[in-house]
């Protein structure tokens, strides 16, 4: 698989942990946001900038920025699953990974074992993407669109 590799070795110190734990949301929207955020973390602006860069380099942070609400932007999004026979797992995983509209893809222990998220820039394209994947794989795809979000606070501590 291509892509950003996670560094084999990295070590987080207390300040890194404070950044990870304290900056998974609420980054200031102002002219000097790093300066303001750094102040609450008790470090300097330049140090915060360098440390965030290092977390990205280490692969701990994939990105520094916001999460997007695809639907609010007119996009289409759904969780979907398929039951993939063991022998076809690698093949189907490769296909999904090569599909730009597939954002996440996890193999889970269940008969519906391949779980992935499909995102399209336009809501009306979602169905077509699912239909195309079904046609290509010959396997039924079960879409599980979100009807309501009760909670969204995925913050993980380091």
């Amino acid at each position: 698989m291509t892509g950003k590799r996670v560094r084999e070795t990295f070590s987080l110190d207390d300040i890194d942990r404070r950044i990870i734990n304290g900056l998974q949301g609420g980054f200031p929207i102002c002219a000097r946001p790093f300066a303001r955020a750094a102040k609450t973390l008790g470090i300097g602006e330049q140090e915060l900038i360098e440390r965030i860069g290092r977390l990205e380099e280490w692969g701990i942070a994939s990105r520094f920025g916001p999460l997007y609400n695809a639907e609010a932007m007119g996009g289409g999004v759904t969780l979907a699953a398929m039951a993939v026979p063991e022998l076809r797992i690698a093949e189907i995983a490769r296909l999904l990974n090569e599909t730009p509209e597939v954002a996440h893809n996890y193999l889970r222990d269940f008969d519906l074992n391949m779980w992935f998220v499909v995102l399209t820039e336009r809501a009306e394209d979602l169905e077509g993407v699912l239909a195309r994947l079904e046609a290509t794989t010959g396997l039924p795809i079960y879409p599980f669109p979100k009807e309501r979000s009760y909670f969204l606070e995925l913050k993980l501590e380091a």
Binding site: I52, G65, M73, Y150, L156
Partner: protein
């Protein structure tokens, strides 16, 4: 739905690549688009207010931090008890996400989903036990689906202009593509 102008979309695209790591990142974002720092700030603030954007900050790859036992717990619950069960589940600090999703008759009766991100499987199973106990008779049935492998977790950036690609959090991922949203939406669906 938010009305986005072509300029708005270009700004969102730029933001999607990640905030420039420099002292005045919003000014830097606006410069190539001919937008002032002030104009960028105003737009981003309004997108955060109306929910187009959320959780501005470090997008963490949980696996790399050692949070590798990730369980999706799915529940079958009577529609008029959904909200009550959701309230019970989200009351536990280890429940990180909770969604109601459409079930599929005959195939998949589960209509409420929650996620637990944990360090080890045994501990996560203990946590599931606590959920089951608290849910009591509210839930008819549940299943625990641990992730066995992560093939892709929305990676870095992908643009429709250039090539490149997606997480909200995980690694073997850069593929090529041209879907802005897939690269930016993080862990949600």
């Amino acid at each position: 739905m938010t009305e986005l102008t072509p300029l708005d979309r270009r700004l969102l695209d730029a933001l999607c690549r990640g905030l420039p790591l420099e002292p005045r990142p919003y000014a830097a974002l606006g410069r190539p688009l001919g937008l002032s720092e002030e104009a960028v700030l105003t737009r981003i603030q309004s997108w955060l207010r109306d929910g187009t954007l959320k959780r501005f900050g470090v997008v963490v790859r949980h696996h790399e931090l050692g949070w590798s036992a990730n369980a999706m717990v799915v529940w079958q619950v009577d529609p008029d008890r959904l909200d009550r069960l959701a309230a019970v589940l989200t009351g536990f600090p280890f429940v990180t996400l909770c969604y109601r999703r459409r079930p599929i008759p005959e195939r998949w009766p589960f209509n409420l989903y929650c996620m637990i991100h944990g360090v080890d499987r045994a501990r996560v199973l203990d946590q599931v036990d606590r959920l089951v106990e608290a849910a009591g008779s509210l839930a008819q049935n549940h299943r625990v689906l641990f992730s066995r492998r992560r093939f892709k977790q929305c990676g870095p950036v992908m643009r429709h202009v250039e090539t490149s690609e997606p997480i909200p959090q995980n690694p073997e991922e850069i593929t090529t593509g041209r879907n802005r949203l897939a690269s930016c939406a993080g862990g949600e669906a």
